[in-house]
């Protein structure tokens, strides 16, 4: 198991943004989690993950939605389950 932070970002109030990260080995099983680094009083973020085989590697497309009326900072965390 390998875990880490791949990217950080900021979302404006109610903004949805797409991030992508490429060059991940296709044999890896990778999970993604978006962790707010701004505090909030209710649910702050949701995200969906899409995948693309680009050559021999995987590109992850991560759509992140800020559910709040305030700007939020976040970390994009990954877990490689089999590496």
């Amino acid at each position: 198991m390998t875990l880490g932070v791949q990217f950080t970002g900021t979302l404006a109030p109610n903004q949805t943004a797409n991030y992508y990260t490429f060059g991940w080995q296709s044999a890896w099983d990778v999970l993604w989690q978006i962790m707010p680094t701004s505090t909030g009083t209710a649910s702050q973020v949701q995200w969906t993950v899409s995948t693309e085989l680009s050559g021999t590697a995987i590109t992850y497309w991560i759509m992140i939605k800020n559910l709040t009326a305030a700007a939020i900072d976040f970390e994009g965390r990954y877990a490689i389950l089999n590496a």
Binding site: L31, Q33, M35, G40, A42, A71, R77
Partner: protein, 365 residues
Amino acid sequence: MQLITKRSRMVQPDGHQDALTVTEAPANAGVVRSVGAPGGEPVPGPFGGPGGGGANKFADNGGAVIEIARLQLIYWGSAWGSSPAPSPTSAQVTSAVQQIFSGPYMTGLTQYRDIGRGHLLGSVVVTSSNPPNPFTDTNVSNFIAGLISAGTVPGLDAAKANLYFVVMPKGVNSSSGGVIGEHTYYTDGSGNRIHFGWVTNNGTLPYVTNVLSHELVESCTDPEGSAILGVAGTCSGGGWCEIGDVCESTSGVVNGITVQSYWSNTNNKCIVPAWPATTYPYSGTQFTYTIPANQTVNFYTFNWPEYEFVVWEVVPTTAGTAAEITWNVEIQRASGAYVTYWISVTNLTGAPVSIQGRYTVLGIA
């Protein structure tokens, strides 16, 4: 710009200063996770200093804290761009700070109003000017204000959690004799309090990170001299009496980086926290419920440590003939240290479906 006159300072060791609610659902569908179970709380590492006794040394005076620091590093002076490169290099210091943030060092701050780990906002090397030698707090605050104004470093964001640390070149010292690091704040033209600090440099990385870590935890717990402060008799020096001030004689290593210990009321001694002695991954069932036909029920479960990577799965325990359940997960950073997971579960069928909400804690991210 107003610079306050009191501040916290680090001196040479021989110096003299110093649920259960379920939204839209019956009450019995609540979800609770107790603090520290089953993942456990960070525990102090093997670097603790001598313990004291009796009542807490530090009290919360209710002033501002920084729950999740956004640290901007600023390397000031042409020496940072010299050839050969200085020791340590700015890159080495920046990398070390990243290691401090990714490790357990700050997890012991949870006891102080749920302060959590910070993160590195960025780093910048400014070689176009040099700090006066000796320098004053006003020299540093004017320098930072100029960088913010010029857009060289980011200004405050909505959370106002920015922390600006200036790292000095080797041999550049404070006009306050014996003071090797300090944090304080100034008030900008908009009335915002800008939290900053400075760190001197003896040419070794452990020295810089030791001083920097001291100022970091103190900046988070007491950025304005009004929050976590020593009770009467805790400190003998001047300035704000803060959690690093009583632990200057002990340090530890986190992720290979030297850091200074800080006072823990919980442990009643100086600590350098370590990760909990938990074997990852581990799994369990956090909640059960019966979802009425064609309904969506929202659950939340709180007090999960922010550093743990948790994945959720909702499975039916009622047999079906087609897909029965879908769910999605949203996250709330309820505090610097803790996360609340919001799990929305939809019954896709025309009959009640019993479910289990299962978690797996993969590890530390």
